[in-house]
Amino acid sequence: MKLLTVVLVLYAGFCLAITNERLLKLQERSGGSFIKLTKSNFNEVLAGPRNATIITLLTATNPEIGCSTCQNIAPAFEQLVDSWSLDHPDGDGLFFARADLAEGHPDIFQALRLNNVPKLYVYGPTNDSTPLTEGFEVWNVPQSIDFVDHVVATIAEKLGKRVDLHQPVQWGSIAITVGSVMLFLWLLQNYSRYFILLITSKTLWGGFAVFLILIFTTGYMFNNIRGMPFIMQDDKGLPKYFVQGQQQQLGIETQVISAIYGMLALSVVFLVIKAPGLADARVRFGIVLYLLGLNIVLFSVFLSIFQFKSSGYPFHLLNIWSPK
């Protein structure tokens, strides 16, 4: 409410400010519905005086930063600004700006002394030429998918402006869906023999079931739900494949462990099915020993990994390799 009165007062007393026309131009130059903050323009846009409210998203979508929230809210932010600029081509006193570390320009972040993102800074209209480190309000950035709803609600509450959200029509995915369905039906029509062969294949189904079991029992859902990074770096910048702790894991661990499980299981399956059927006794012996050796080695490595994950676990087989 207070902000609103300030807005009104400022509209009355027009002064030397960054004009809305200028902001519109900058927005056009950024090639979209929001202003991309760069090294050259950020001071001009964010330092007062100005007539408009500028909602600034400070984010870092580059994958090496590992900010999952930033990545999650990126499409939501675009949907929000697209909706606003569609209904308000002239800006209507509300502009959006975004500084993304992925686009370079760390200067902005240094100037604001930011050490964590994402942030929503809202610069209200002002008469004074405030530096960009002052005169803004920090809005809460919700972690989850209701980012858009939250920001829309906050805009309505604090700025008194209504944002009508437009769902972007996803022509691409519709086309892909329709195309693939058509293709599938066509294949079904012309190659139904192979299709039937395919869906009645025991091995295929068996492999599929085993595959599902392998990824589910190695924390695939954990990665999905927790949004774990695929891989991490240690202090020296070297890749880190395993993190310690029984309740923690990285994305790559699922792949490594499911591969180990898979090979262990495969060695047992071959020992049961294939090995006894071999004709030559020596070959048979060699294969059995090979499979068994593989089994023992893999299990030893696996136990070492597990020991690394849960410190204090007392059992191990051969000391072949262990992380760290």
């Binding site: 392998l214 859902m221 309740q247 299981a265 047992v268 020992l271 049961v272 068994l292 059992f315």
Partner: protein, 728 residues
């Protein structure tokens, strides 16, 4: 050399061996669950078991009908809880029957001991039914292996140690029993076995909410079989019997009531029941009218029926005639659902996803034999194998999403690992060729060559060693991870000696002995059952989280400033507030660490009054001490946690550091509306008494600041004109 042994004798010896082995397995299963009794004492563990124990005591001291209609006025004050109608009575009735039975035969055993020992006793039964189940899947030797695995696998022990008197303790037994009878019924098409399956299904429904798993798995099995074209009259008989009897029986449990025909969780079973009638009818028609055209007509009509069924289901759900999926069930599929919509479910640590080390921790090498076993089952793919496969895939997913469902996955891991090991041993432990007398001189080339013997010994030796390691692993895990009652904490003292921290019981006992019998205690819901069970006092909320608003009320009282909190506490007639504070001891599971959930749940109900954001610093950190936000410092929980904290440290000359959050507490919070009543030895439990309204009608902050000033000898010297409101 050759001693002639008759077939009958051999069979008898086998039987004797099997019985001996099964008894040894049962004994091992029971005894490996007794660590906690030996180390601590015969005591009920954790949280939920305390409620079950309390309910069982009520059952044995009242009649069954009184238990069924039990209105519990000591919880959820002042709403009360229709306990009889909102619990699964199976566990209590089981324990109660055992108690009555033992008394009948002249063995009056304390009900507590029965409750403590129930889970280990049932684990022996589980092992036996796992044996029977696996014997149906493969053969009896695989059954023995599966039983042994099941007996000692930590994944199952985690919920069935002595003292863990929870629904799961008997539910896993019933799960295996129901599945065994179902496999038996579907194999033989027998009404008799199907009725048994339905009977145990009913028992399962009466014991655990997880019965929905059976309700969906058996129809899924049938559905897959129909899709594979394996429909038979046996299947029809088994499923129709099971569904009809099982559903009718399950509706007799008051808590379940009409759910089987109203809730989406149960619609799959109903749908498959309908489908199998149609399929049966189609089969009948086909047997009467043999024609090729019929097949395609049948196919189209089946598809149509399925589509119609789904459309009907969706429209009925929209119309509100069928209840949508329950939140807990829903959160299994849409993993973000709980995080956003139901903080109370997301806040429970059991509902967190599982990282891979947990799977290995709970089943050791069975976890990689598990896919091998499944793959081997695909080689044969009998009807019952399809059941195992469906179970495995579905439950792997569930266990990955929720830690607690690891429990339902463990049996099938044991079964299919046993199948794998047993198949391996069938090949490599078979020395019969060498023992046979040479009747046909060297029939084939080198079946008995030295290489074969060596490879057999190598494989068998390795796997026997693995099994040996498995036993050690299980014992170690059970002893180290799953045998703590969590009511008593064990830590290592600086000198390395074992130290028991018994603050919980100390505090609960204090409550029991020093407060009026009708005192109302407000505490976060985690401790509700324990307060009810150990302190026997009325609680506001407990672990049966049926009323979110009431829980949010307690959350609001904890996270609001004193003035607001006092109003809430007074409105609910609260006499004492109990909090857990780990900052002195370094116990990380305390209320300040659960605080965010309290705030979130309260915010869900009062978004205008409680804001999560205001508990975080500008930089988005959760801080106590100097950097804490004002809202944080004003909150009642914060004040109660750090009351006297600085003072005590000052006296002993140590810096006032919170040992959980590793932050320095600099100022002593000012506490006005409650007063400290009790603090346990290690400060783990702190109990505060809610002050009465001020006799002179002042607000309590004024009253206590007046008292403080008087005690400090400060007298108001100046007579300043007060700023008063206009008199009404």
């Amino acid at each position: 050399m050759s001693v002639e042994v008759s077939e009958a004798t051999l069979a008898n010896i086998k039987l004797l061996l099997r019985v001996t082995i099964l008894f040894s397995i049962a004994a091992a299963a029971v005894s490996s669950r007794l660590f906690s009794v030996v180390r601590f004492e015969s005591i009920i563990h954790e949280f939920d078991p305390w409620f079950n124990f309390r309910a069982t005591k009520y059952l044995v001291s009242h009649s069954y009908y009184e238990f069924l209609n039990w209105f519990d006025d000591k919880t959820w004050y002042p709403l009360g809880r229709v306990t009889g109608g909102t619990l699964y009575p199976g566990l209590m009735v089981t324990a109660g029957s055992i108690w009555h039975g033992l008394r009948k035969i002249g063995l009056p055993v304390d009900i507590r001991n029965i409750c403590v020992m129930l889970a280990p006793a049932f684990s022996g039964v589980t092992a036996y039914f796992t044996y029977l189940f696996t014997a149906e899947i493969k053969d009896k030797s695989a059954g023995l292996l599966a039983a042994a695995f099941m007996g000692i696998a930590p994944g199952y022990i985690s919920r069935s140690v002595a003292g863990s008197y929870d629904n799961e303790a008997i539910a896993i037994t019933l799960l295996m029993t129901t599945f065994y009878f179902w496999i038996k019924a579907s194999k033989e098409g027998s009404v008799f076995w199907a009725a048994w399956a339905a009977g145990f299904y009913f028992y399962m429904v009466s014991a655990w909410g997880g019965y929905v798993f059976i309700t969906n798995l058996i129809p899924l099995h049938v559905f897959i079989l129909i899709l594979m074209g394996r429909y038979s009259h046996k299947l029809y008989t088994a499923y129709s019997t099971w569904y009809a009897i099982g559903t009718l029986a399950s509706m007799q449990i008051p808590f379940v009531g009409f759910l089987p025909i109203r809730s989406n969780d149960h619609m799959a079973a109903l749908g498959v029941f309908g489908l199998i009638q149609i399929v049966c009818f189609g089969e009948y028609i086909r047997s009467k009218v043999p024609s090729n055209k019929f097949k395609s007509v049948l196919f189209v009509s089946v598809i149509l029926i399925i589509l119609l069924g789904i459309a009907g289901l969706v429209s009925l759900t929209y119309a509100g005639l069928i209840a949508p999926w329950t939140g807990r069930f829903y959160s299994l599929w849409d993993t973000n659902y709980a995080k956003i919509h139901i903080p109370i479910i997301a806040s429970v640590s059991e509902h967190q996803p599982t990282a891979w080390p947990s799977f290995f921790f709970d089943t050791q090498f069975l976890i990689w034999l598990f896919p091998a076993g499944i793959f081997l089952l695909f080689q044969e793919l009998r009807n019952e194998h399809i059941f195992v496969i469906a179970y495995s895939v579905l439950c792997s997913y569930f266990a990955g999403v929720m830690v607690r469902l690891m429990l339902t996955l463990t049996p099938i891991i044991c079964v299919s690992a046993a199948v794998a090991v047993s198949k391996l041993f069938d090949v490599y432990l078979d020395f019969s060729d060498y023992l046979k007398e040479d009747k046909t001189e060297k029939p084939k080339d080198d079946k008995k060559s030295i290489f074969d013997i060596l490879s057999k010994f190598a494989v068998v030796g390795t796997f026997v060693f693995y099994l040996y390691l498995f036993v050690f692993h299980c014992t170690w895990v059970t002893s180290n991870a799953y045998s703590s009652p969590s009511v008593v904490l064990a830590t290592k003292a600086p000198d390395g000696s074992q130290q028991l921290i018994d603050d919980y019981r100390e505090a609960y006992y204090w409550l029991r002995m020093n407060t009026p019998e009708d005192a109302k205690v407000a505490a976060w819901w985690d401790y509700g059952y324990q307060i009810g069970g150990m302190a026997d006092r009325t609680t506001l909320v407990d672990n049966n989280t049926w009323n979110n608003t009431h829980i949010a009320t307690v959350g609001k009282a904890m996270c609001s400033n004193e003035e607001v909190a006092y109003k809430v506490l007074k409105q609910h007639d609260v006499d004492y507030v109990l909090i857990i504070f780990g900052g002195m001891l370094g116990f990380s599971g305390d209320d300040l660490n659960k605080f965010l959930w309290m705030i979130r749940i309260a915010q869900g109900i009062w978004p205008d009054e409680v804001k999560e954001r205001s508990f975080f610093t500008e930089r988005g950190e959760y801080k106590v001490g100097r950097e804490a936000t004002q809202t944080m410092k004003d909150s009642l929980l914060y004040k109660m946690s750090y009351h006297r904290f600085v003072d005590v440290h000052m006296r002993s000359g140590r810096p006032a550091v919170d040992r959980v959050r590793s932050q320095v507490i600099s100022e002593e919070p000012e506490l006005n509306v409650v007063e400290e009543a009790f603090t346990s030895e290690n400060w783990l439990v702190r109990i505060y008494k809610v002050k009465d309204l001020d006799n002179a009608g002042r607000d309590l902050r004024e009253a206590s600041s007046f008292e403080r000033q008087a005690a400090a000898g400060i007298k108001k010297r100046t007579a300043k004109r007060p700023a008063l409101d206009i008199r009404e």
